[in-house]
Subunit: 350 residues, 2 copies
């Protein structure tokens, strides 16, 4: 049964035979099979073509032997259901928003559509993947958290200092709250659709909250992330709360998801030791992480040493999912990724 | 007497009448007087012209009423004494290194010159500033820490993922250590020259260590930062150890400077609450920070509220220097910077 797979057992902090592992962006840009398709169509076109998206989603399960698949999609896709137009540029440029939202009029104008209509291709991809995977490994669905979506649509793209986003927070606080309320509803609807279509776990990318002071996170972001977790609680699937640069925010992140008993995990990056992070979060919450993605460019011996360090820090406590601290980087040697999965499985055997 | 100024008393954790404040990049790009000169010459040319550098250094003391001046210079200037050629681009591009160091041959070839010869203009600027300031406020000297310099000269400029730097660490560890040893000697010589020329405190910019895992910082960086602090201890001036994104590294930073009793402070950014950070660092070390620079774009009422929050967190403990969590951003309204200094002085009156 799928609920008895290593990944889902670990999410619920049950006993496992070994530590499960999956990798953010495991289906992506470092794989030659992916690159071959990508040469022929845009990233968004790939996301919107269920057969392609499903193929790319399943690929790493066979190739790397990871313990979960993650839907091939983008954190910004839900914006399709709120009439925000965007494209995803090449390389470091990241996404570009065509109609950014920066005024109360623009925020008021946003209408939340039905994900079933505007994002039906996501549900279709999920159904295809589940049919293909059968009960081999679970499928993780995901979305950008309200703050992630808001920061992109206010900035108009990726940002270094988040001047426009923080500007809205500090100067037009009511507009900010209106925008976040709408995005929260959108994220909840979108993720419920994914769960209905068949995903067995969810990751929420609160990716860029590391740019905020703890007070700002608490006042202007946490209530909305919490709303997402609280609303998904009834779905009874594990919810992974991921962020980068969050070493100063861990207790507050836990506050956001803390009411989801037994189904809540926090994903950390590599900028804090896993044992210290877990101690601060509390052992009643699962933890995911925390290898620096750049380590995958190192010799295998070095990768192995670092896998062991992280496993030692996790100390066989129930509820550890191995992962990178952020996505697999372009150019990462595929053989090193395969070796990583192997190291984690072998070194963690109970 | 200069040693009795509010800033130097606070550095030594003595009683003060109010909390002193200075701002990273207080002499820079948001000031019209600075922009006027900058239109006529490059940033590096400004640094290398003592009369100009001195004028720009003193400017914010008069204009903002801050409690310390900081030398107008760049964190990379010491590279001039090790024959690394660079220029400083406009806007977000940052510095560009003409002859990056990525092999053992290139690292071996580096010869450490005499800062007095190659960086005499810095000493001259310091002398001019001290003459101008008299005993009004102290002058802070600074340098990039060995890791900051190394990451720039290995990457060839600013980086997002530090692939080349970490690549060198993981794959050519001995070359890394050779490079760091040389840069450490360079930084020590350069800072001793600054102290001899007259600066009364030093800030060491370990700026980008936030990209490292705690283990990597401990193994590959901390010993060199520690060497810098240990070597400067005999100079008996306050040493401020600054980094961004360091919420997972505070205890290790303290380890780097911990042997410098009574003259060591840690500068934090805004991504962690000051009270929690200070508790972890230990109250026998001073602390500097921690306002988000973006807050200076907010209405004055909001700036005031946030100043109060930080002061409340510092709770009048001896050893707090108010500062931003990183440099003043371009476009920051000057009147808000003036108001900030005023708020800090007034709200912190003992």
């Amino acid at each position: 049964m799928i609920s008895d797979t290593c990944f889902l057992r670990a999410c619920k902090r049950k006993k496992v035979d070994y530590t499960p592992i999956w990798l953010m962006r495991q289906a992506g840009r470092y794989l030659p099979e992916y690159q071959k398709i990508r040469q022929k169509m845009s990233f968004l076109k790939m996301c919107k073509t269920p057969e392609i998206a499903a193929y790319v989603t399943v690929l790493p399960v066979k190739k790397l032997n990871v313990d979960a698949a993650i839907l091939f999609a983008d954190i910004l896709l839900p914006l399709e259901a709120i009439a925000i137009k965007f494209d995803i540029g090449e390389g470091q440029q990241g996404p570009r928003i065509h109609n950014p939202v920066r005024s109360v009029q623009e925020a008021k104008r946003l209408r939340i559509g039905e994900p079933e209509d505007d994002l039906g291709f996501v549900a279709e991809t999920i159904q295809l993947v589940c049919r293909e995977l059968k009960d081999r490994v679970p499928l993780i669905g995901f979305s950008g958290a309200p703050f992630t979506l808001a920061s992109y649509i206010v900035e108009g793209g990726h940002s270094t200092n988040y001047l426009k986003t923080k500007g809205l927070i500090y100067q037009e606080t009511q507009t900010w709250h209106l925008l976040m309320s709408k995005l929260t509803q959108l994220v909840i609807k979108y993720l419920k659709m994914q769960i209905k279509a068949g995903v067995q776990a969810i990751q929420i990318f609160d990716s860029w909250i590391g740019c905020l002071s703890p007070d700002d996170y608490k006042r202007y972001v946490l209530p909305y992330s919490k709303k997402v977790f609280d609303s998904l609680k009834e779905c009874n699937v594990p919810l992974i709360h991921f962020a980068t640069g969050s070493a100063g925010l861990l207790e507050l992140m836990r506050e956001a998801g803390g009411d989801v008993r037994g189904n809540y995990l926090i994903g950390i990056d590599w900028r804090i030791n896993l044992d210290l992070a877990w101690k601060r979060i509390g052992y009643d919450v699962g933890i995911q992480g925390n290898l620096d993605p750049v380590v995958l460019f190192a010799p295998k011996k070095e990768i192995k040493r670092r896998v062991k360090e992280i496993l030692d820090r996790a100390a066989n406590r129930p509820g550890h999912i191995f992962n990178l601290g952020h996505g697999v980087l372009p150019g990462t040697p595929v053989e090193n990724v395969i070796a990583l999965v192997d190291f984690v499985h072998n070194l963690s055997k109970r």
